[in-house]
Structures are given as structure tokens and as C-alpha cells.
């Protein structure tokens, strides 16, 4: 793009800036257009899960529901409460969306389409992602409302806590790929990291879910306790921005999980020159698969208590993430993949040549490490779940209650 402008007689610096602006607008608009679709998708999906129809009046299958909502919100009166800090109050919803949109800048959509392949990509998205936390604090603090302030405090406490296991589990793909660039992490996944370090993937997914504030971690907006939390005083389009930020964030965590643990745009030959669109479709397919899981969790799980949420983080996820890091750190070092040797092995033909022909030379190079780490992860997972189980049993014995499943009455069959 920039080269084309330079060739047609533009100043090189100017061309760079124009190309960047265009790229940024396209990339950011992609995020905003996606939420219009994803809000419909999520409402329809939640409806189906809960045995309802979901939106079905506006347009075919209710597809225009979101447009109708936007139209309604545009014409709503925008109320600023008395005593609110106006500038902060108005800036918070903008920052909430901007912080999430900014993550799109480093996501590699395929081997060529990436906004900016920063060599600190992972650190960038952690840093930018916490802008949302800041926006929540700004909103709660400036609203001049007790519920909003309490909701903001609670949200901040939960969000910063869950950042700890997230970053600890994030160190694992960085360590395996030997780079913080998102593109390098994708390229290092001849075997998707979910098959190598599933425990890290699980910790990352859970803590990201908590960062978004989706069920079962939706205490940030617990209606029954703190009405709506930090956004209680917001109305009209400003409220819509918080709503939009949540939906973009929900999809962004799916993309990030797909990029970091599911192999990103890789798979079925994507990555060869000329397969740009196919790589993009691969990434989107994986992201939507994760998104379906998020929606399923949201529409089925009840909300957990705040003290349980914090205890689960500090007393289970953080120690598990620390142990996980130590285990991976010691086991992965002797098996650093040697891509050159693997290629030579494939070139020799025979059995290795056959496998290499199907899965690529990178698969053979990473296979030993993957097998060792997978076994270690399975053991770790078994021990962790066993510990949780024991703890649960002990608690139940102490309180003298039986598990929920055992107390369910068989009379349910009659209705």
C-alpha cells in the first residue's frame, strides 16, 4: 500500500502515514462491525440454550435487532448525574472501547495480515488490555454514586487479581516460542500449544474470562447486589459503549486464545503465499469455536460469590500457574526443537519423510517436547483436580451436606 503511493509520486513519510491511517481504520472498523453481528449471535444462541427463540421480529431471524437497538440508544436522553466529574465521566466509555480495539493492532490474522508485528506483542496486549480496568475505575469514581464506586472497587480487585495467573500462564507460550512477537508464537506452533501445555491454556482462558467479566465471573455487574456496578449512572450511547466494549473484549479473548494456544492461522496448508484468505478463515473458525464455548458458559453457569472468586484465583490458579511454569521450564529445555535437523531428517525420506510430508518438518522437530510436556501436564491436571476434589469433600463433610447431584429428587421425572 505504502509502496504503491510512493511509486505514484508521493512523499515516502506521508505515504507511510496515510497507509497506516487506512490500515488502522479498516482494522478497528472490523472490530466494531463484528460486534453488531456478535451481539445478535449471542442473544440468539443464549435464547436457544435457554429454550427461548431469541430476537426474531426485526428482519430475517432478527438479524436487524442490533441496528434497532443502536437506533433506540441514539435517541435516548443522556443523563449526567449531579456532582459527577464531567470530563472523566465522558472519557471513560471512550477509553473502554479504545483499550480493547487497540489489541487488534498486534493480532496476526494470517502470515501477511498483521497491523504491527511488534517484538513485544504479548506485553503490548497485556498493557493495553488493562486500560479497560482503568476505564472501569474512571467510570465508577466519577459517577458520584455509591453503587458505582463499590462496583468499581470490586471490579478492580477481581480484574487485577486475575491478571496474575494470566501473565504467568502467558509466559509459557513465550518461553516455548522464544519470542514475544505474536507472529513468531504462531509460527512456533507446528503442534498447537493446547496439545503441548493444556494447563496453561486452561489457566489463560479462565483468567481471560474473568477479565471480560462474563459468567461465571460476572460479579462486576451483579444486578442483585450492586445494581449494575460501575456503569449504573450511564445512559444512552455512553452505556452502549460499555456494552460494546464487553462484546468486543469477549471476542478478542477468543482470538487471543486461538492465536496463542490453537495455532492461530495455521492448519491445512494455510501460510503458503496465495493462501492469505484461507489463513484468515482458519483463525476466525478457531476463534468462533472458542466463542461458542464462552457463550455456552455464559448461558448455563450461575454467578459465583465474590469471596469464592478471589479465593479461586489466589489459592488455586496462582499456585497452579507457578507450579506449571516451573514444570514447563525444567522439562522443555532439553527438547528445544531443532528445525534444521528435522528438515534434514525429512529429506532423508523413510518414515520420518512420510510424517514430515503430511504434517511438515516443524511437527517432527517439536514432537519430543510436545510428548514430554503433554504427559507432565496431564499428571499436573490430575493432581490439581484431585486436590480440589479432596478439598470439596472435606468442606462438605465439615458442613454436613451432600453433593448437589445426590440430593436432587427423582420426582423431577413427573413434570
Amino acid at each position: 500500500m505504502a509502496e504503491f503511493l510512493v511509486n505514484s509520486g508521493w512523499n515516502a513519510n506521508l505515504a507511510q502515514i496515510v497507509a497506516s491511517v487506512l490500515g488502522a481504520v479498516v482494522l478497528a472498523s472490523f472490530g466494531l462491525v463484528w460486534i453488531i453481528f456478535s451481539i445478535w449471535l449471542e442473544r440468539k444462541f443464549a435464547g436457544r440454550v435457554q429454550d427461548r427463540i431469541g430476537p426474531n421480529r426485526t428482519g430475517p431471524y432478527g438479524l436487524f435487532q442490533t441496528f434497532a437497538d443502536v437506533g433506540k440508544l441514539l435517541t435516548k436522553e443522556d443523563i449526567t448525574p449531579e456532582g459527577a466529574d464531567k470530563h472523566v465521566y465522558n472519557f471513560a466509555p471512550i477509553l473502554a472501547v479504545a483499550g480493547i480495539l487497540a489489541i487488534f493492532a498486534v493480532i496476526p490474522f494470517n502470515h501477511a495480515w498483521v497491523g504491527a508485528d511488534l517484538n513485544i506483542g504479548v506485553l503490548y496486549f497485556v498493557a493495553v488490555g488493562s486500560l479497560t480496568t482503568l476505564a472501569i475505575l474512571l467510570a465508577g469514581w466519577s459517577s458520584n454514586n455509591k453503587y458505582a464506586l463499590l462496583g468499581a472497587f470490586r471490579a478492580i480487585a477481581a480484574l487485577i487479581s486475575y491478571e496474575v495467573p494470566m501473565i504467568l500462564s502467558l509466559a509459557v507460550p513465550v518461553l516455548l516460542a522464544g519470542s514475544m512477537s505474536m507472529q513468531d508464537i504462531v509460527k512456533g506452533q507446528s503442534i498447537a500449544y493446547i496439545f503441548v501445555v493444556p494447563v496453561s491454556a486452561l489457566i489463560f482462558f479462565i483468567s481471560q474470562l474473568a477479565e471480560v467479566g462474563r459468567s461465571p465471573f460476572d460479579l462486576i455487574e451483579a444486578e442483585s447486589e450492586i445494581i449494575a456496578g460501575f456503569n449504573i449512572e450511564y445512559s444512552g450511547m455512553k452505556f452502549a459503549m460499555f456494552y460494546a466494549a464487553e462484546f468486543i473484549h469477549a471476542f478478542v479473548i477468543c482470538i487471543l486464545t486461538a492465536v496463542l494456544f490453537l495455532g492461530g492461522w495455521r492448519g491445512f496448508g494455510a501460510g503458503e503465499p496465495g493462501y492469505e484468505l484461507f489463513g484468515f478463515i482458519m483463525l476466525m473458525t478457531k476463534s468462533v469455536a472458542v466463542y461458542v464455548l464462552v457463550m455456552l458458559l455464559r448461558s448455563t453457569l450461575p454467578r459465583i460469590r465474590i469471596d469464592h472468586m478471589m479465593a479461586f484465583n489466589w489459592k488455586f490458579l496462582v499456585p497452579l500457574a507457578l507450579v506449571n511454569l516451573l514444570v514447563v521450564m525444567f522439562l522443555a529445555r532439553p527438547f528445544v526443537p531443532d528445525y534444521a535437523a528435522a528438515e534434514a531428517l525429512v529429506a532423508q525420506g523413510g518414515f520420518a519423510g512420510l510424517i514430515g510430508g503430511i504434517f511438515g518438518a516443524g511437527f517432527i522437530a517439536e514432537l519430543p517436547r510436545a510428548v514430554v510436556l503433554l504427559i507432565a501436564n496431564v499428571i499436573m491436571f490430575a493432581v490439581a483436580t484431585q486436590l480440589l476434589h479432596r478439598y470439596g469433600e472435606a468442606q462438605r463433610a465439615k458442613l454436613g451436606v451432600r453433593p448437589v447431584a445426590a440430593t436432587r429428587a427423582p420426582a423431577m421425572a413427573s413434570d
Binding site: A24, L74, I79, A98, L101, A116, L118, V174, I227, L325
Partner: protein, 119 residues
């Protein structure tokens, strides 16, 4: 290419700030504005507000923030090490194990002191 990427990030940030600001601005143009005293009161489910919104809150939030801060800063040191991981020798591994071990001890200390309890 390096400076260009950061230029892109900067521009992207500005675009990302402008995009959500546009609908808010548009809404300001078309929405009705009939403010009155009742409407602008702080919302507390119909009950009149008593006192300031900036009430006293639990010290627990500070403790969580402090523990988070310790972890966050120490984890930042983890990343440069993780990037160089594939070239490191045994000594660097043991050193980092000690580092993570100290983090673990800090966690246990905070746990035993009751800093992780939500009261």
C-alpha cells in the same frame, strides 16, 4: 521497519479513540435534552442519597492491590528471560527457579498472614 510499526500503533490508538467518540457525539446531536433536578440525582433505587458517594471502604482492597503489585513487577522480569529461554544454560534455569520460588514463598506468606481472605 521498527519505527514504522510504532507509528502505526500511535495512529491506531488515535483511530481507536475517535471511533467510539463518533457515535457518542452523534447521539448528542439527536437525543432530547430535558434535564431536571429529580433526573440528575444519584440513582439509589428511589431512595434519597445520604451523604457523600466517596465512602470509607475495606482495607482489603489495598491488600489485594499490594499483592498484585508485587506479582506484577516480578513477573515483568520473567518475560525477557522467557524470550532468551532457548539459548539459556542450566544456571539460568536454576536462577529463575529460585526467583519463581521466592514468588511462591511470598504467596504463602500473604496467604498465612490472611491477606488473601475476603472478609
Amino acid at each position: 521497519m521498527q519505527p514504522n510499526e510504532w507509528l502505526f500503533i500511535g495512529i491506531f490508538f488515535i483511530v481507536a479513540l475517535i471511533l467510539p467518540a463518533v457515535p457518542i457525539f452523534l447521539a448528542q446531536l439527536v437525543n432530547p435534552k430535558r434535564p431536571n433536578k429529580m433526573k440528575q440525582e444519584a440513582y439509589e433505587c428511589g431512595v434519597e442519597t445520604v451523604g457523600d458517594a466517596w465512602v470509607q471502604f475495606k482495607v482489603q482492597y489495598y491488600l489485594y492491590a499490594l499483592v498484585f503489585l508485587i506479582f506484577d513487577i516480578e513477573m515483568l522480569f520473567l518475560f525477557p528471560w522467557a524470550v532468551a529461554y532457548n539459548q539459556l544454560g542450566l544456571f539460568a534455569l536454576v536462577a529463575m527457579a529460585g526467583f519463581v520460588g521466592i514468588l511462591g514463598v511470598a504467596l504463602i506468606y500473604a496467604w498465612r498472614k490472611g491477606a488473601l481472605e475476603w472478609l
